[in-house]
């Protein structure tokens, strides 16, 4: 079923669910950033690159969700 078959109120429910997922990913990124900064300032460089890659992965997921799926629902 394409997104346009839903009435607007139904689509808004789906959008709200997707936004919650995206919000959780953004909070995860915030946690990653603070943990990485804490480790870096403490002299531990071992997690810097893995954390950056994880954050990049979260962003890619967010971008994918927002760009390819959510836009369809909101347009």
């Amino acid at each position: 079923m394409s997104a346009s078959r839903f009435v607007r109120s139904q689509r808004l429910t789906i959008v709200a669910g997707i936004l919650v997922v995206v919000l959780v990913l953004v909070v995860l990124q915030l946690w990653l950033l603070t943990a990485t900064m804490e480790a870096y300032l403490g002299g531990d460089d071992s997690i810097v690159v893995p954390a950056a890659l994880a954050s990049l992965g979260c962003f890619a997921l967010n971008f994918g969700i927002l760009h390819f799926y959510l836009r369809k629902l909101l347009d």
Partner: protein, 182 residues
Amino acid sequence: MRIDDPDRISANPDGRPDEAQPSWREQFPIDWPSDDFRSRRDFTKLLGLTSLAFVVGQLWIAVLSLRRRSRARPAEREIATVGELPVGASKLFEYPERGQVCVLVRLPGGGFAAFGQKCTHLSCPVMPEPEKGRFHCACHNGSFDLATGEPLAGPPRRPLPRLRLEVRGDRVFAVGVDEGVL
């Protein structure tokens, strides 16, 4: 917005179609459903930009980390003589570069220890209090062990960055940084 949209409540004030309306009318819709859509779209953009900003922050830390790892080992430098510091005394010096203030203390046992002077909480200068066996940060009442630099009380959670020292004869040399960021 489609004209046959079931959620469409009001008509355009001038009666013209949506395509002929000024662009600001789309930004400030009259109907609640349209307004919900608009606010969600803006919120979505904000989330995307926030996510991107976090990635930029992570990459910035990664660049700083690489720069720190590739930096040459700091040159050793004479910082004091054994005779000038009685037990319990301390001395400030800059190492490895100008502006990076460190503090050298003569421990009650007779040995030496040196640490970066910046508190690991919010970078206030810590002051040695040998009689209490600690460094004290007056900004938020944090304290660190005088011999090891480990946090003892207050907000700091990380130890003070420790300097490697060598005593050659009567002279004390700083020969490197053990851990942490000065």
